[in-house]
C-alpha cells in the first residue's frame, strides 16, 4: 500500500523563483494586461524625471558662460518648469491608474484563486496538506498585501534600472575608466548588502510562521463565536499571554534585522563616501588637467557630479527594490505552488448516463489517500430503481465515504461502482452528476438568493422555475416563512454580504438544502442525515413527506 500518494509529496516541494515569477506574470497578462503597461510607463516617467534633473545646472552654467541676459534665463527657466510640470502630472495620472489597477488586480487574483479551488479534484480538498498550502498561499496576500507590494517593488525596480542605464550612458560620454570605477564600487556595495539580505531573508522566513500563529490568536480573540468562553472560563488571559509571547518573539527576531540593517548601511556609507571622493576628484581633475581626456567646463563638471549622485541613488533604490521584490516573490511561493497544483485528475469517460436503473458496489474498498486507514473494506451491494433504502451499521466516516464515492468525489481504492451496469468512471462527469442529488451531512448554502440556492442553474426571471421553487417550498413547509421576507424567494442569505439579507435558523437552512436536492430532479437522491439539526416535530414532518418529495427517484438515506 502506498503511504503517501505522489500528489501529496509534490505539495511539499519548493519551486524556483523563476517559476513563481512565471506564474505571477502569466496571471498579470491573463487578468489585466493594461496594468502591466501602467507599471512600465510608471517606471519610465519616474526615470525620465530623474535624468532630466541632471541637466538643469548645465543649462544655467552654459547660458551664463554664453553671456545670456535675464530674459533668456527666464525663458529657459519657464521651459524647464513646463517640462517638469508635464512629467510630474503624467506621473500623477499613472499613479492614479496604478492605484486603481493594483486594487482590482488583487481582487481578481483572489477570485482566480477561488476558481482554481473549483477546478481541483475534490479529493485534494480533503487533503490537509492542500488545505495548509491554501492557508499559507492566501496569508501573504490577505495579511501582507503581497500582490500590491510585489508590483510596486517591480515598478521601483524597473525605474531604477532605466535610470541606471540612462545615467551610465551619460557618464560613458566622459570616461570608461570612471564608469568602471563606479561599477566596481557598486559591486562592493552589492556584496555588503547581500550579507544583510541573507540575514533578512532568514529572519523573514522564521517570522512568517510566527506571524501566522500570532494572526491566528488575534483572529480568535476578536472572533464572536469564542467570546462566551473568554468570559465564562476567563480564557482571555491565556490568549493574551499567547499573543504577547508571539509578538515578543517576532519583535526579537525583527530586532536582528534592524541591527543587521544598521551594520550593512554603515558599511555602505563608507563605500558611498569613497564613491563621492572619487567622483569629485575625477570631475575636478577633468576640469583642471587634461590627464584623463580633454579639459571640461564647469557645466559638465556638474553633470558628472549630478549623474554620479543619481547613479548611487538609483543603485541603492534598485538594490532595495530587488531585495524586496525577491522577498515578496518568496512570500508568494505557496501561492504559486497552489496555482500550479494539477487539475482534473478526474477520470473522464464519454458515455452519456441514462436515468437510474441500478447502482452496484462491487467489492469496493476505500483507503483514505495518504493514510492506511481502511474506511470501506470490500463492500458490495446493489440498489435498484425506485427503492428507498437506508444504510446503517457503518461508522460516520464509512457512510459519508459511500456518498462521496457515488458522487465520484473520490475513487475507490479497489473494486468498482456500476451505474446501470457500466463503471461510473466511464460516464461524462458533468452529465453523470446531473443524475444525482444529495443533502450532505455537512451541506452548505451559498450567499445568494433563496431562489438561486434552490435552483442554481436557472435564471432568476424564469417564471416556470419560480413556480416550481414555490411548489417545493410549500412541500418542505417554508412558504409562510419565506413569504414573510421582504423580497420573498429573492431574499439573499448572507447578512455579512448583503444588508437586506436574512438569517435563517439551522432548521430552515436544512429545509432549503432538502428543497435544493428535490429541485434538481435527479434520478437518484442521497440524504445523509438530512434532519440532524431539526427539532422532533419538524423532523417527523419532513420524514413523512420524504416519499412524496422524492417521488419516483431512487432514494438512499444514510
Amino acid at each position: 500500500m502506498k503511504k503517501a500518494p505522489a500528489a501529496a509529496q509534490k505539495n511539499t516541494a519548493d519551486i524556483s523563483s523563476f517559476r513563481i515569477l512565471k506564474v505571477l506574470f502569466s496571471l498579470l497578462f491573463a487578468l489585466d494586461k493594461k496594468y502591466f503597461f501602467i507599471i512600465v510607463s510608471n517606471s519610465l516617467s519616474g526615470s525620465a524625471l530623474s535624468i532630466f534633473m541632471i541637466y538643469i545646472p548645465l543649462v544655467f552654467i552654459q547660458g551664463y558662460q554664453a553671456g545670456w541676459g535675464l530674459p533668456h534665463f527666464v525663458s529657459a527657466l519657464l521651459l524647464i518648469c513646463l517640462v517638469r510640470y508635464l512629467l510630474l502630472q503624467t506621473r500623477e495620472w499613472l499613479k492614479k491608474q496604478a492605484n486603481i489597477r493594483s486594487e482590482l488586480f488583487n481582487e481578481k487574483v483572489t477570485q482566480e484563486f477561488a476558481s482554481k479551488v473549483m477546478r481541483l479534484d475534490y479529493a485534494k480538498l480533503e487533503d490537509t496538506e492542500v488545505l495548509d498550502l491554501k492557508e499559507r498561499a492566501l496569508f501573504p496576500i490577505v495579511s501582507y498585501g503581497g500582490i500590491y507590494a510585489l508590483w510596486e517593488w517591480f515598478t521601483d525596480l524597473l525605474a531604477a534600472l532605466i535610470t541606471l542605464l540612462g545615467v551610465l550612458t551619460i557618464l560613458l560620454l566622459f570616461s570608461y575608466w570612471f564608469v568602471l570605477a563606479l561599477l566596481l564600487l557598486a559591486i562592493v556595495n552589492l556584496i555588503l548588502l547581500k550579507q544583510f539580505t541573507l540575514v533578512m531573508q532568514e529572519v523573514q522566513q522564521t517570522i512568517i510562521p510566527i506571524n501566522r500563529r500570532y494572526g491566528y490568536y488575534v483572529n480568535i480573540a476578536t472572533n464572536q463565536d469564542f467570546q462566551k468562553e473568554f468570559r465564562i472560563y476567563g480564557m482571555n488571559e491565556i490568549l493574551e499571554r499567547k499573543i504577547e509571547y508571539f509578538t515578543l518573539e517576532m519583535s526579537s527576531w525583527l530586532k536582528n534585522i534592524y541591527v543587521a540593517q544598521a551594520k550593512a548601511e554603515s558599511k555602505v556609507a563608507v563605500v558611498n563616501g569613497l564613491t563621492r571622493f572619487i567622483t569629485y576628484g575625477y570631475a575636478a581633475v577633468r576640469v583642471l588637467t587634461s590627464s584623463f581626456g580633454s579639459k571640461i567646463g564647469l557645466g559638465q563638471f556638474t553633470v558628472i557630479i549630478g549623474a554620479a549622485e543619481s547613479f548611487s541613488a538609483s543603485l541603492m533604490a534598485g538594490v532595495k527594490a530587488v531585495l524586496q521584490f525577491i522577498q515578496y516573490l518568496h512570500h508568494l511561493q505557496p501561492f504559486a505552488r497552489f496555482m500550479l497544483l494539477p487539475e482534473a485528475g478526474q477520470q473522464e469517460g464519454d458515455l452519456q448516463p441514462s436515468a437510474h436503473e441500478s447502482l452496484t458496489f462491487e467489492h469496493v474498498t476505500f483507503v483514505y489517500p495518504g493514510t492506511d486507514k481502511v474506511i470501506l473494506d470490500d463492500i458490495s451491494f446493489t440498489i435498484n430503481r425506485g427503492e428507498k433504502i437506508s444504510i446503517v451499521g457503518l461508522n460516520n466516516a464509512g457512510k459519508s465515504t459511500i456518498v462521496k464515492l457515488i458522487c465520484r468525489l473520490f475513487e475507490p481504492t479497489a473494486g468498482k461502482i456500476l451505474w446501470n451496469g457500466a463503471d461510473i468512471r466511464d460516464y461524462k462527469y458533468e452529465a453523470y452528476l446531473q443524475q444525482l442529488s444529495c443533502v450532505f451531512q455537512d451541506f452548505q448554502l451559498f450567499p445568494f438568493s433563496i431562489f438561486a440556492n434552490i435552483a442554481p442553474r436557472r435564471d432568476e426571471s424564469d417564471q416556470a422555475a419560480r413556480a416550481r421553487v414555490q411548489e417545493i417550498l410549500a412541500e418542505v413547509d417554508l412558504t409562510d416563512k419565506i413569504s414573510e421576507l421582504p423580497a420573498g424567494i429573492d431574499t439573499k442569505l448572507d447578512k455579512s454580504l448583503y444588508e437586506d439579507a436574512t438569517d435563517l435558523s439551522v432548521g430552515q437552512k436544512q429545509k432549503i438544502a432538502i428543497a435544493r436536492a428535490i429541485c434538481k430532479e435527479a434520478s437518484l437522491v442521497i440524504l445523509d442525515e438530512p434532519t440532524a439539526a431539526l427539532d422532533p416535530l419538524t423532523e417527523s414532518e419532513i420524514y413523512e413527506h420524504f416519499n412524496q418529495l422524492t417521488r419516483e427517484s431512487t432514494t438512499i438515506f444514510i
Binding site: 491554501k134 488575534v218 548601511e265
Partner: protein, 655 residues
C-alpha cells in the same frame, strides 16, 4: 429584602443603543491633532534613550544635505580660482567624504537600532485593545451599529509602517528633515527671504491638499471597507474547501462568477471615485512644488546676471534649492501622513479610552451547599430588536436539581442560558441565585459558579491541558486527567505522544491533533468538569455530535459528573432528558409545560406531540435499519465473515 438596594451592574449592551450615548462614551471629547500628538508622544518622551537618539538622528541626518550644497561651493570656488590647486581640492573632497561617512553611520544606527522600541510600544497598545475586546460586555456584539463603529480600532494598531507605529517612525524621521529645511532655508534667505517664504507657502498648500485628500478618503472609508469586505468574503467562501461538495454537485460556481463580476464592476467604479480627488488636486500640488524652483531660480539667475553672486555661489545655491525643494516635500508629506493616520488612530483611541465592561455590582451570593435558581417574570429582547425572545418567564430550580429545557428550534433556549450565566441581563424581571439578584453580582464573582458546555465547541489551538484548565498557569494535571476520564476522552488523549500536553489543531504547530466533532464535545465537557468551584452545570445540546454509545455513557455517569451541582440541560433528543428530575418546555417565550416525563405525557400538550413524533420516527428508522443491516450482513457475511460485526459498535443506530 436587602438585595433590592444593591447596586446593579452597568449594562452597556442597552446603554449604548442610543446614538448620542454611544458618542458620549466613545468620544467623550474632541480628539484634536495636538491632543492626539500629546497622547502618542507621552510614552515615547518617557524614554531618555529614545529622546537622545531622536535628537542625534535629527542633527546627523539633517546636516547631510547642507553639507552636500557646501561642498559644491568650495569645489567650484577652487576650480574657478586662477591657480586651481588639485591638492587643496582633494583635501576638501576627502574631508567631505569623511564627514559624510560619519554622519551617515550615525544616522542609520540611531534610526535602525531604535526601530524596535516603537514596535514594542505599539504591541502594548494592541494587547490592551484586545484585552478590552475580550472583556467588553457580550451584549455589545449584538449591537451592529456599535460594532461598525468600534470595528475600526484595529487598523491603526496593525502595522509597522502605518497608523500609530507609522506615525512614530515618521515623526522620528521628520526631525532630520526639519533640521535640514531650517539650515537650507537660512542659507537661501541670505539671498532672499522670498525663497524661504515660497518654501513655507508650498508646505502649507501641499499640506492642505493632502489633508483634504485624506479627509475625502476617510469619509469614503466605510464604503471602501464594505466593498472590500464583501469581495473578500465572497472569494473566501468561493475558495472554502467545505463548500467543495455542494459546489460541484449543484454546479454553483457560475453564481459566484456573476456575483464577482458585478461586485468587481462596482468596486472599480468606487475606486475611480476614490482616487479622483487625489488626481484633481495633484494639478495644484505639482504647481506648488514648482513654485520654490521658479521663485528661487529666478532670483538666483538675476543675481548671477547682475553680478551679485559668483558662479560657485550660484551653483551652491541651486544645489541648495533642489535639496530644499526635496526636503520641503518630505516635510509636507510627513505632516500630511501624520494628519491622515491620526484621523484613523482617533477610532482606536476612542476604543482604548471608553469603558465597555459590564462592571460594578455590589451583590453577593451566599453559596452554602448549593444554588437555588429562580427566574422571576423574566423578559428579554436582544438589544435593538423589537421581538421579545422571553416574556414574563418564571422558573424555579432547586438545589442540586436536574432540569431539562426542551422546545422547538428557535424557542430561545440558548438565550435563556446567556441570561442564566449573567452574560446578558434581562430587559425585565430578575434572576435570583439563593435569593440574590445576579444582575447585582460582579461578573468576576458570578462566572466561576458555572460550568458551561456550549453548543458550538470548536476548540482553540492550545494544548489539551490548557483547554481543560482554561489557563496555562497553575494547571492541576491530575484534575485534568480525571476530567478527561469522566468525559470519556482519556482513551484518546492517552494515545497522544505528548499526552495532555498535546497541542490541538494545526494552525500553530504541525504536531497539533485534530479531534472529531464528538471528541470536541467531550473536551468541552471535560473543561466544564475541571472547574472545582462551580455550582451550576449548563449543558447546551451536549451530546449532539456524540454517537449513541458515547451519549449513553455520559448519561450513565451523570450523577458522578454533577456531584451535587444544580444542572440545566438543553436537548432536543427528548429521550435523553428522561434522567432529569424535571422537564421544562419553552414555547412562545414562556415555560409552557413542566413536570416529569410521565406528567408531561399525561398532560397531552406540545411535549407529548414532540415526543410521539420523535419516537415514531425513531421506531421506523430502527426497523428500517435493522432490516437493511440484516440484508447487508447476510450479503456481506457470504464474503467477509465477521467484518460487519466489527463495524457495528461504531454505528449510530436510530439516527
Amino acid at each position: 429584602m436587602s438585595e433590592v438596594e444593591q447596586q446593579q451592574r452597568v449594562n452597556p449592551a442597552f446603554d449604548l443603543l442610543d446614538e448620542d450615548k454611544r458618542r458620549a462614551v466613545l468620544r467623550p471629547r474632541q480628539y484634536t491633532l495636538p491632543y492626539m500628538l500629546r497622547f502618542i508622544s507621552s510614552p515615547v518622551l518617557k524614554s531618555r534613550r529614545i529622546v537622545l537618539a531622536g535628537l542625534g538622528y535629527a542633527v546627523s541626518s539633517g546636516l547631510l544635505p547642507v553639507l552636500a550644497s557646501f561642498i559644491v561651493y568650495y569645489l567650484t570656488m577652487i576650480l574657478q580660482s586662477p591657480a586651481g590647486d588639485l591638492e587643496t581640492l582633494l583635501l576638501y573632497a576627502g574631508g567631505y567624504a569623511v564627514l559624510f561617512i560619519i554622519l551617515s553611520v550615525l544616522a542609520t544606527n540611531l534610526l535602525n537600532r531604535n526601530y524596535n522600541f516603537f514596535m514594542e510600544l505599539r504591541i502594548g497598545y494592541m494587547n490592551q485593545a484586545l484585552r478590552r475586546y475580550m472583556l467588553m460586555d457580550l451584549g455589545l456584539f449584538e449591537n451592529s451599529a456599535f460594532l461598525d463603529e468600534i470595528g475600526k480600532w484595529s487598523w491603526a494598531l496593525s502595522s509597522n509602517n502605518a497608523g500609530l507605529e507609522g506615525t512614530w517612525h515618521k515623526l522620528f524621521e521628520l526631525g532630520g528633515t526639519a533640521v535640514s529645511v531650517l539650515l537650507l532655508g537660512l542659507l537661501l534667505s541670505w539671498q532672499s527671504p522670498v525663497i524661504m517664504l515660497a518654501g513655507i507657502a508650498f508646505v502649507i498648500v501641499y499640506y492642505f491638499i493632502q489633508a483634504n485628500i485624506a479627509r475625502y478618503k476617510y469619509e469614503r472609508r466605510e464604503e471602501q471597507v464594505r466593498l472590500a469586505r464583501r469581495l473578500g468574503r465572497l472569494s473566501d467562501l468561493a475558495a472554502d474547501f467545505r463548500y467543495g461538495k455542494d459546489m460541484r454537485l449543484f454546479r454553483i460556481y457560475g453564481l459566484f462568477r456573476s456575483a464577482f463580476d458585478s461586485l468587481t464592476v462596482s468596486f472599480e467604479k468606487f475606486l475611480r471615485l476614490f482616487h479622483a480627488r487625489e488626481f484633481q488636486l495633484s494639478f495644484a500640488g505639482s504647481l506648488s512644488l514648482l513654485l520654490i524652483d521658479v521663485v528661487s531660480f529666478f532670483i538666483l539667475s538675476s543675481n548671477l546676471v547682475a553680478g551679485a553672486i559668483t558662479l560657485p555661489q550660484f551653483l551652491m545655491l541651486i544645489t541648495a534649492v533642489t535639496l530644499f525643494g526635496q526636503q520641503m516635500l518630505v516635510l509636507a508629506e510627513g505632516f500630511a501622513y501624520v494628519k491622515r493616520d491620526m484621523l484613523y488612530f482617533a477610532d482606536t483611541m476612542s476604543f482604548l479610552q471608553a469603558d465597555l465592561r459590564t462592571s460594578g455590582g455590589s451583590g453577593q451570593i451566599n453559596i452554602g451547599d448549593g444554588i437555588e435558581i429562580e427566574f422571576e417574570q423574566v423578559s428579554f429582547s436582544y438589544p435593538g430588536a423589537d421581538q421579545q425572545v422571553l416574556t414574563d418567564l418564571n422558573l424555579k430550580i432547586g438545589k442540586g436539581e436536574k432540569v431539562a429545557l426542551v422546545g422547538v428550534n428557535g424557542a430561545g433556549k440558548t438565550t435563556l442560558v446567556k441570561l442564566l450565566t449573567g452574560l446578558y441581563q434581562p430587559t425585565q424581571g430578575r434572576i435570583l441565585f439563593n435569593g440574590t439578584d445576579i444582575s447585582t453580582v460582579p461578573q468576576q464573582e458570578l462566572f466561576p459558579l458555572f460550568s458551561v458546555v456550549f453548543q458550538e465547541c470548536e476548540p482553540l489551538a492550545l494544548t489539551v491541558a490548557e483547554i481543560v484548565a482554561g489557563t496555562d498557569e497553575g494547571i492541576d494535571r491530575e484534575r485534568v486527567v480525571a476530567a478527561l476520564k469522566a468525559a470519556g476522552l482519556w482513551d484518546k488523549v492517552s494515545t497522544f505522544p505528548q499526552g495532555i500536553d498535546q497541542p490541538l489543531l494545526k494552525y500553530v504547530t504541525d504536531e497539533g491533533k485534530i479531534l472529531s466533532g464528538g471528541e470536541n464535545q467531550k473536551l468541552a465537557i471535560a473543561r466544564a468538569l475541571y472547574r472545582k468551584d462551580s455550582r451550576v452545570m449548563v449543558l447546551d445540546e451536549p451530546t449532539a455530535s456524540l454517537d449513541a454509545l458515547a451519549e449513553t455513557k455520559i448519561y450513565q455517569d451523570l450523577e458522578r459528573i454533577l456531584a451535587g451541582r444544580t444542572a440545566f440541560f438543553i436537548s432536543h433528543r427528548l429521550a435523553s432528558t428522561r434522567f432529569c428530575d424535571r422537564i421544562a418546555l419553552l414555547d412562545g417565550g414562556r415555560i409552557k409545560e413542566q413536570g416529569t416525563h410521565e406528567e408531561l405525557m399525561a398532560l397531552g400538550g406540545l411535549y407529548r406531540e414532540m415526543f410521539t413524533a420523535q419516537s415514531k420516527y425513531y421506531r421506523e428508522r430502527e426497523q428500517n435499519s435493522k432490516q437493511r443491516s440484516e440484508q447487508n450482513s447476510e450479503r456481506r457475511a457470504e464474503r467477509n465473515g465477521k467484518r460487519l460485526a466489527e463495524q457495528l459498535p461504531n454505528g449510530e443506530l436510530g439516527r
